[in-house]
């Protein structure tokens, strides 16, 4: 892999220059809530929150939109395709490895048996530029093997102090560097040592650990465990964990009619398997009526069924669900207790 060096003194110039390519999305800090971060369109490179932790909503919101119009319909003209942001060229800048892994999972899900034209219209116009990070007490990407990325990015910036090492992941990334060659320099021996030192420091910074060895097997054995009922008593099934999850992709499709009663829109909108009406069918039968069944379904989808279907779990250890849960449910704690068989209600 080609690696070049970008001095921090030139990084804002680099960021500004990316606007020539298209819309640049960066993590920003909420002025009214210090320490709370969100992805948004960059207006000025000084808005970039270099030391950010996880954002509230992951960058999937730019690819799999929270709510989008997928067709406009009219009684005479039928259903006409609408693909929002179809022509928008966009750079997702500053993504941490966990979020890049999240997008890698969505890339597979939305193009397995059928290609989702909405996701892919946006995906093919999206550039991903990653950024190294240091974990906090809710990060467990190291346990999920998502703490580093070898692909899935166009460029990846690693912080080595005065400079960033910039790994080039694609030919498009190579072009982005080549077009701005004056900003970059060669990597020197000292930089390599700094990078290894950074890696060591980062590896030693993880405080949260989850043992995922043979976890699908253990979950399969624990299908009827009382743990799920206990969890069902705590979980409010509010769906916050799904909304903030980089890999949750469930959605619903529905129509809304305009006031003229002749035209309207077909909407595709995020949904969550935790919601009470999720498995409700016409006639009133609900296939997962109680909360325990729904919360269990979410855990099994992430850690069991995804492994069966795609070969790896769909949890990237970003810690957002731990942060977002109003009932204080911690996925690491739950899965650890499943393994130990030691769950007790709080």
């Amino acid at each position: 892999m080609k690696v070049v060096k970008l001095p921090k003194s030139k990084v804002e110039e680099f960021l500004s220059s990316l606007q020539d390519f298209g819309e640049v999305i960066i993590p920003k800090e909420k002025t009214e809530h210090p320490g709370v971060y969100y992805f948004d369109v960059m207006e000025n490179p000084s808005e970039m929150a270099w030391e950010y932790l996880r954002t509230i909503i992951p960058p999937k919101k730019y690819l799999h939109k929270p709510r989008e119009v997928i067709f406009k319909f009219h009684k005479e003209q039928g259903y006409q395709e609408v693909i929002e942001d179809k022509e928008t060229k966009r750079i997702l800048f500053g993504l941490h490895p966990c979020d890049i892994h999240g997008i890698k999972i969505l890339d597979v899900v939305f193009n397995r048996d059928y290609m989702d034209p909405y996701y892919y219209a946006r995906r093919k116009n999206t550039v991903i530029i990653g950024l190294s990070c240091l974990p906090d007490e809710k990060c467990f990407c190291k346990s999920m093997n998502t703490d580093y990325v070898e692909d899935g990015f166009d460029l990846f910036l690693s912080d080595i102090g005065e400079d960033f090492l910039v790994a080039v992941g694609t030919s498009l990334g190579d072009d982005l560097v080549a077009e701005r060659a004056h900003l970059f320099s060669e990597v020197e021996e000292e930089d390599r040592r700094k990078y290894l030192a950074f890696r060591k420091k980062r590896n030693e910074s993880f405080r949260l650990e989850l043992d995922i060895s043979d976890l699908p097997y253990i979950l399969d054995l624990e299908q009827k465990s009382p743990i799920w009922d206990e969890l069902g008593k705590r979980c409010l099934t509010c769906g916050s964990c799904s909304m903030v999850c980089p890999t949750c992709y469930c959605f619903n499709v529905y129509d809304t009619l305009n006031l003229d009663a002749k035209s309207g829109q077909r909407i595709k909108q995020w949904d969550a398997c935790l919601f009470k009406d999720y498995a409700l069918v016409a006639g009133g039968h609900n296939f997962r009526e109680n909360r325990a069944e729904r919360v269990k379904n979410r855990y099994y989808h992430k850690q069991f069924r995804m492994v069966e279907q795609y070969g790896k779990p769909s949890c990237v250890g970003c810690g957002r669900c731990i942060d977002a849960c109003p009932a204080g449910i911690d996925v690491v704690e739950v899965l650890t207790k499943v393994r130990e068989g030691s769950y007790v209600t709080h």
Partner: protein, 271 residues
């Protein structure tokens, strides 16, 4: 690039009232939609929304498609308002359909309940197309009351097909009904068939599917000899949206007709 979500505008040729709660739409798509028996379509009612239904017509006549629908919710209530000449949207087919190739030379036991006979009718047409290929086709059907017996005008013709026997029952008799009374599972008592060479296929309400399955198992059917139509609120049809999973399976993509051996261990099979 073809958009898999795009509904194909389709004319309603006719609307047949099957029972007080069930109607059949006869549809004329602008181009034939080839499908396998058991595969389903996503049907759009203009301005109301989209819902999954399995055709009830013969896969050998894809130029017109019939879909038989029970009035049960929002979209189906709108379906029941449709008139000849109206236009609806179709996309699909989705799912795998019945593994009809496996049925050659076998005794096929088809067990339907209520509107569940609709998807099964597509299978029956496919089986009747080459009825001699199968050892025997036994159909057992139950409805709530005589008025709710779907496709009643066809029973006499079906009973005349060599290799085919057809029996039906109602939960409650009414009026001048003189046929069998009782649950459809009663028709599975004293079955005269070679269990080693049989498959059972069932479609109906969840509670009926459950008791039919238990009955079949108690008779001696092995789980891998039982196919069940598992239906959920499929929103995409492509194994993405996540509304229809049982264990690792997405019913829209891996079903909706599932081999019971594959799904029996998952607790939400019958809801």
């Amino acid at each position: 690039m073809e958009n898999i979500y795009q509904p194909l505008e389709t004319e309603v040729l006719d609307v047949i009232t099957e029972t007080p709660t069930i109607k059949t739409l006869v549809l004329k798509p602008p181009r034939p939609i080839p499908f396998r028996a058991g595969q389903f379509m996503q049907l759009t009612v203009f301005g109301v929304g989209e819902a999954p239904f399995t055709p009830s017509s013969s896969p050998f006549h894809p130029e017109t498609m019939e879909i038989t629908i029970l009035k049960a919710g929002r979209v189906t209530a709108a379906v029941h308002q449709l008139k000849p000449g109206d236009r609806i949207g179709l996309r699909g087919p989705f799912g795998k359909g019945y593994p009809i190739e496996k049925f050659a030379g076998k005794e096929i036991l088809v067990v339907g309940g209520g509107v569940g006979l609709a998807p099964l009718r597509a299978l029956l047409y496919a089986l009747f197309h080459e009825a001699e290929k199968y050892q025997r086709i036994s159909i057992k059907y139950g409805a709530r009351n005589p008025a709710e017996l779907s496709f009643r005008r066809q029973y006499a013709a079906w009973q005349k097909i060599p290799n085919v026997d057809f029996e039906y029952t109602v939960d409650r008799a009414e009026g001048d009904y003189r046929g069998k009374i009782g649950l459809v599972t009663n028709l599975l008592d004293n079955l005269d068939l070679n269990l080693n060479n049989a498959y059972a296929v069932s479609c109906g309400p969840e509670v009926m599917l459950k008791f039919v399955t238990l009955k079949l198992l108690s008779i001696g059917f092995k789980p891998e000899q039982i196919y069940l139509s598992m239906n959920r609120n499929m929103s995409c049809g492509m194994g993405i949206c996540g509304r229809c999973n049982i264990g690792p399976y997405y019913l829209c993509k891996d079903g909706p007709d599932m081999n019971f051996a594959d799904i029996q261990k998952y607790p939400d099979v019958f809801g």
